[in-house]
């Protein structure tokens, strides 16, 4: 899962979520939900580390794009936030 922030100018950003598993219907639905919340939080607003790292990233974590397989022996989740 990659959260990409693109600066439109020096005052505001827009976001984009990239998920390699977006082709899965349930992932896509969750991504849309997360995107709506993140958009409200950061899009068109001044860039703040707090709103990105503590806000947007937390939203993605809470949405939990992985299926609930509690007994899987190995789980790996990678979240990356980058600014372009």
């Amino acid at each position: 899962m990659v959260l990409i922030l693109r600066r439109m100018d020096f005052q505001s950003v827009v976001h984009k979520i990239y998920d390699p598993f977006k082709f899965l219907p349930w992932v896509k639905a969750r991504e849309r939900r997360a995107a709506a919340q993140i958009s409200t939080l950061i899009d068109g607003k001044p860039f703040l580390y707090a709103s990105v790292n503590a806000g947007a990233l937390k939203i993605i974590e809470d949405v939990n794009f992985l299926p609930d397989t509690s007994e899987a022996r190995v789980k790996l989740r990678l979240l990356v936030v980058r600014v372009k």
Binding site: V2, F10, P20, V74, L78, V81, V83
Partner: protein, 221 residues
């Protein structure tokens, strides 16, 4: 508009369960940026249960570590490349055992001394994996114990839990891990490839970043 990109946050979350499903280890590695300050944190949680059908309950051991600044590039490398099979095995076995002992208030230094007397140290960063058990070739300090061993490692490699082998010789875990890592990192390859190897990149949002700043510390809870 700047054409470079900067990774300002990374969160890696590994969850490993032993083959008998009685022990679970959660290992986290986080990069956070607040203005000009970049921090790397490592989280370690150990869960155990008597029977496979029991719930995991609360973590028996929980450790938070802030990585020393000199090892931050290595932490970043580990975050992007994932744990090796030896690191996974060590996280599930010896590291978990030592964390458990530390949480119980037992001093493992004597056991460690006995161990070192009978097991000469090896350079584990070269991929040498010791046998199963409570073996450790790192220097333990009270409190931080094994999860902290990675930050006092030999200076050449940040071998995160790089000791031990408790998984089966068939290496099913290794195969599954590599496959999942490959899938995920392929998806995130644009980020990985776009990241500058230099701590400071030519981006206006990173002006003034100074990694030479001191003041990082190690703590456990």
């Amino acid at each position: 508009m700047a054409t470079t990109s900067t990774v300002i946050a990374i969160k890696v979350h590994f969850e490993l369960i032993t083959k008998d499903k009685l022990r679970r280890v959660i290992f986290g590695l986080e990069k956070d940026t607040q203005g000009t300050a970049i921090t790397w944190k490592i989280n370690f949680d150990l869960f155990e249960r008597e029977k496979k059908t029991d719930p995991w309950g609360d973590a028996m051991v929980h450790v938070d570590i802030e990585v020393d600044k000199v090892l931050q590039p290595k932490a970043e490398k580990a975050a992007l490349n994932g744990m090796t099979a030896g690191q996974q095995a060590h996280a599930l076995g010896p590291a978990a055992d030592d964390q458990k002992a530390a949480a119980a208030g037992r001093d493992t230094s004597r056991r460690r001394q006995r161990h070192h007397a009978s097991h000469p140290q090896k350079d584990l960063s070269q991929g040498d994996i010791p046998p199963t058990g409570t073996h450790s070739h790192t220097v333990n300090r009270a409190g931080v114990q094994h999860a902290g061993a990675l930050i006092q490692a030999n200076g050449r490699n940040l071998y995160l839990f790089s000791l031990g082998r408790i998984m089966s010789n068939k290496n099913y875990l290794l195969r599954a891990f590599r496959l999942s890592l490959l899938l995920l990192l392929l998806g995130g390859s644009t980020v990985v490839l776009a990241q500058s190897p230099k701590p400071n990149v030519a981006d206006a949002s990173c002006d003034g970043i100074d990694l030479e700043k001191d003041g990082f510390s190690v703590r456990s809870s």
